[in-house]
Amino acid sequence: MIPLNLADGAPPALHGVTEAPPTLDWWLLAPFLVLFGAGVLAVLFEAFWPKGSRRTLQIALAATALLVTFVLLVLQVEAVGDGTTVGNGVLAVDRTVLFFQGTITVLALVSLMLIAERRDGRDAFSAQAATVPGSEEERTHILAGSQHTEVYPLVLFAVLGMLMFPASNDFLVMFIALEVMSLPLYLLCGLARRRRLFSQEAAVKYFLLGAFSSAFFLFGIAMVYGYAGSVNFGVIRGAVESGGAEIFQGGNGEPLLLMGVGLVAIGLLFKVGAVPFHNWKPDVYQGAPTPITALMASCTLVAAFGALLRVFFVPFGTSAAIWEPMLWTVAILTMVVAAIVAVTQRDIKRLLAYSSVVHAGFILTAVVAGSVEGLAGAMFYLAAYGFTTLGAFAVVTLVRTRDGGQELGDLDKWAGLGRRSPGLALALSLFLLAFAGIPLTSGFIGKFAVFEAAVSAGATPLVVVGVLSSAVTAYFYVRIIVVMFFRDSEGEGPTVARAGVLTGGVITVGVAATLALGIFPGPVLDHLVPSGEPGQEPTAVMVDQVTEDPVDE
């Protein structure tokens, strides 16, 4: 990007403007390129590969691409050292970013297992999304066994965006990442096989509101650019410290910064689903095909929080006094409102959506902490929550109505599930207890880590609200367990589809991760997430700006 020349006369020292061709570290860019290449390849397969074997090929391609990406990310951990930037400083590569990316990749792989699962030869997606629901044409497609294998390239592109989002070191790249991540998700939301109108409604709502929030975000970027004279995180950070770009040396730049911080925050808070920007979550989570909901609830949340943490800690890290009261308010609103509203939810997917909103509130307390401890707590929390929520949604895909065979969201009808399928009910109970933060589950460690960070940063009132809120949430989680185990089913209960290898695998991974991170969190806490001195600035472990030496040839 080329910053505007703000002052007459000699051009100011502009960052990133060089006449030399950009030097790109292809090795560090490889994870993005692999996913992008696989996505493009998958689109070509859609166009030219014969229908019969296309689905298998697409799944294999997506899984391989994600696996290779993950291996590349792991290989980079040692290499990046204290962190660096690539591509003229638009993307950051440090251990924090790699942790987020690695987590997203693994969670995406597990979600892919849910997405690929088929029951009676049918997956969770519409046979032909372009047909009118209930029409003759739709029936023809269903009978012909049509299927949308476009799902797989879409997932690959979405994951690409998710990897870029928390790695961005530049607001424009971050915006592009946001859109690359979101656009495929809007489409995927509308592809449900059953209750198609509902699914399409969710997709349209998600799209409209997402566009609305993107507008906020983009407008915020413009304000920040006006204030700092650059969209690069490192430059903005420096500008905030010195009171703005050169033309603001008189000291009247703050309104621009305030507007910038606020509007950018709205865009990010929408993505993580904090109150009052959460309205889309219940509707979209409920309407989308459940495997896609699982993908959004785990990977998208991790990516969105990764980006949010980066924005507040790096470019705006020195202006914490400005945004802290705002985040306090949003965190309290989120924890209180979502927890209370969730109490009366009757549908499991809506309930999990509100639960996700409450969890976003808990993680926001770690953002308010503004320390390495907070960052580490949020990182652990997100990874732990991602696996647990995947497992929970996997269970949701298995509980179905007796007649239509569609998923049965109504919790009142889950009575007696504990007696009919004790294993499944037990797994879900474990996930719910982890959501509630009961010790020996990953949820407890996560909550402890974020609350501990918030307390040591002096945000004790926030933690008190958090603890009270989690007591409320414990009520409705336990209520589900009570319904499953201690209440008789009225009339015919739900049927439980036999868990296929893939869904069973997802539940197993969820249980294993929930227990392992709860009982032996040591390795992750000690080695994977950063550990800093108490009160240490997050930039100690988050890279912002690296002066790249032009290559002398």
């Binding site: 349209v204 305030l258 709205i266 409920q286 009261p325 409102v337 806490l525 108490p534």
Partner: protein
């Protein structure tokens, strides 16, 4: 901090390392019952046959191990009896590390012995009591889980691990109280116990957080070492929050309401909850955290007041209930209240509180098992007005129950007398108005105990038969009576063994910084309070004799006066809870739901249900909602803008 805390305050590492196989493997104490629970729960139906036997053998194994550990401790010098046993590091957040270290010291080993011994007996008893129950494998698994969780609680050497056991006890009690889940009342009682306990848990959790932030530590030794440097306000806050936690688990006012409902669980569970586990946790916590309370005299006074109030309230409830188990539950409230009071007295009361806790464990377990035996013979009827004259039909139950009865009311030289006298003399010993008030309260409590326990025995075993038709009382099988006999021996002799010659005080006092307190037998018969205790004992028994033996007992409860009705209604504890917490909570929830559901979501929800049937309805209303959502976001933008401009 006074001198007797030198042991704790001197150096966080004062606990010596475990140097013998028995002590360094103390984790086995917990692991044995835990493994039992795992095998029975995961093993499925395969373990139906031998599972309960295994589950009974494992706590016995723990008990044997605990005995060995006790001998190891006795072999050490009095100053080296606190042994730290590292197990593993659970997690470290920041510079904070939650390790699993166990602390084997005289206080914890006393609890371990009580829990495993009484717990094992209850397992044996359950073999007979639950013989016919289809879910007995699950039942034994939960019992094992309960014992394991309680052992974690008392063996922890830091507050975080203690909290883990605390939550485990809460979970196990929830599972056991709601064991007969097909009974709606049992499911409700389980939920109630769980919810009320969560209130207490929050107190404990916040206390731990304050400790960590302000004192910078959570392990017992480090926290207590930091007490002298901490501010009064901090200690008071921690003390009151710990008390809140203790109130939840120990069913003290105002969190007492779950205990009476918890009788919905099978009777062995009641015995386990009331005698050896769960309710004793609060007393343990207060005694263990003694240095904190000693630094906060106001908190101590609150502890004593709560204990005294609960003691009297429990006594009143026990006097009015016709349900034998609920009456015993009231009695537990009352006795635990007395222990909490004693623990609140400070160092002079610790030994007395723990000694009474142990003897109470024996006779209350005996009484509950006896009650279970009676119910077993009476087709599970619990109404004492339909008992009467059972002494001849159930001689062993009568004898063992009778000994427990004599012990609990404090007949001289039986277990209860020794320990209750210790508490009374400790209470009067603190002197001043407080000493008089609390000492007199205990004597009043003793009078109530004599009354309600006599009433229970008279209505159940003596007097005329008031049985329902078709009821044929019979003595219970030997697997049930044998534990009762063992417990009754403890009810008779244990108190004397512990108190006489200050045997228990000599063992326990140095470990918990208690003041050595000498119990003189003669004093109990010459001091005014000793005589008063004996006088109210006679008075209570006489009054019960007059009301329930001399006059015939009616088969239906007579209309009572205001006091009786209040007590029958458990002092309206449920109504108070509902009025203060439940209804406002419901109103708040409803209000927010109206905002969310009616204004924003209501239509979507309504339409959502009908989506599969009516696509037209959806099409008509769809557009409006995204707009509403967008409006909410705009409102959010205003909030964000406002908080950015007006920074509070």
């Amino acid at each position: 901090m006074t001198q007797h805390h030198a042991y704790l305050a001197a150096d966080p590492a004062v606990a010596t390392a475990a140097d013998s196989a028995v002590l360094s493997n103390a984790w086995l104490l917990i692991a044995l019952p835990l493994v039992g629970a795992a095998i029975l729960l995961l093993g499925g139906r395969r373990t139906n046959g031998w599972g309960p036997l295994l589950a009974t053998a494992l706590p016995i194994g723990s008990f044997v191990w605990a005995l060995l550990a006790l001998f190891e401790l006795l072999g050490r010098g009095a100053a080296d009896r606190a042994v730290s046993v590292p197990v593993y590091e659970w997690f470290a957040a920041g510079d904070f590390s939650a390790r699993i270290d166990l602390l084997v010291d005289p206080l914890s080993i006393s609890f371990v012995l009580l829990i495993t011994f009484v717990g094992s007996l209850i397992h044996v008893y359950s073999l007979g009591y639950m013989a016919e129950d289809p879910g007995r494998r699950r039942f034994f698994a939960y019992l094992n889980l309960f014992v394991a969780a309680m052992l974690v609680l008392v063996l922890a050497d830091n507050f975080v691990l203690l909290f883990l056991g605390w939550e485990g006890v809460g979970l196990a009690s929830y599972l056991l109280i709601g064991f007969w889940q097909y009974k709606p009342s049992a499911a409700t009682a389980a939920k109630k116990a769980f919810l009320i306990n969560r209130v207490g848990d929050i107190g404990l959790l916040v206390a731990i957080m304050i400790m960590f932030t302000v004192l910078g530590a959570v392990s017992f030794s480090e926290v207590f070492a930091a007490v002298p440097g901490a501010g009064d306000g901090v200690l008071l806050a921690i003390g009151l929050l710990l008390l809140l936690g203790a109130c939840g688990k120990s069913a003290q006012l105002p969190l007492q309401a779950w205990l009476l409902d918890a009788m919905e669980g099978p009777t062995p569970v009641s015995a386990l909850i009331h005698a050896a586990t769960m309710v004793t946790a609060g007393v343990y916590l207060i005694v263990r955290a003694g240095p904190i309370f000693e630094g906060a005299p106001v908190a101590q006074t609150v502890v004593m007041s709560v204990g005294a109030a609960t003691m009297l309230a429990g006594g009143l409830i026990a006097s009015a209930k016709d349900d034998i188990k609920k009456s015993l539950a009231g009695s537990t409230m009352s006795q635990i209240g007395m222990m909490v009071l004693a623990a609140g007295l400070g160092p002079v009361g610790y030994v007395a509180a723990i000694a009474h806790l142990i003897t109470h464990g024996f006779f209350k377990a005996g009484l509950f098992l006896g009650a279970g035996s009676v119910m077993h013979g009476m087709n599970d009827d619990v109404d004492m007005r339909k008992y009467g004259g059972l002494a001849s039909k159930m001689p062993i139950t009568f004898a063992t129950f009778g000994l427990g009865y004599l012990a609990i009311i404090g007949v001289p030289f039986l277990s209860g007398w020794w320990t209750k006298e210790s508490i009374i003399s400790a209470a009067f010993g603190i002197g001043g108005t407080a000493g008089m008030v609390f000492g007199s309260a205990i004597i009043l409590g003793a009078a109530l105990t004599a009354f309600y326990m006599s009433r229970m025995v008279f209505m159940t075993f003596l007097g005329k038969k008031r049985w329902d038709e078709g009821v044929h009382p019979h003595e219970s099988p030997v697997s049930m009576t044998a534990p009762m006999v063992v417990l009754s021996i403890g009810s008779v002799a244990l108190g004397g063994f512990l108190v006489f010659g200050d045997r228990f005080a000599g063992f326990l006092a140095p470990a918990i910084g208690a003041e050595p307190h000498h119990f003189t037998v003669g004093h109990a018969f010459t001091a005014p309070y000793g005589l008063a205790a004996l006088a109210v004992l006679v008075l209570g028994v006489a009054l019960a004799w007059f009301m329930y033996l001399r006059k015939p007992v009616e088969r239906t409860a007579p209309k009572g006066n205001l006091v009786t009705n209040t007590a029958r209604n458990e002092l309206y504890g449920n109504e108070i809870n509902e009025g203060l917490f439940m209804r406002p909570g419901q109103v708040l929830t409803k209000a927010l739901v109206v905002i969310e559901d009616k204004v924003i979501d209501g239509a979507v929800n309504g339409i959502g249900a009908g989506v599969s049937d009516s696509s037209t309805g959806l099409g008509r209303t769809q557009t409006g909602f995204a707009r509403t959502y967008a409006l909410t976001m705009l409102l959010g933008a205003v909030i964000v803008a406002a908080t950015l401009v007006v920074r509070f």
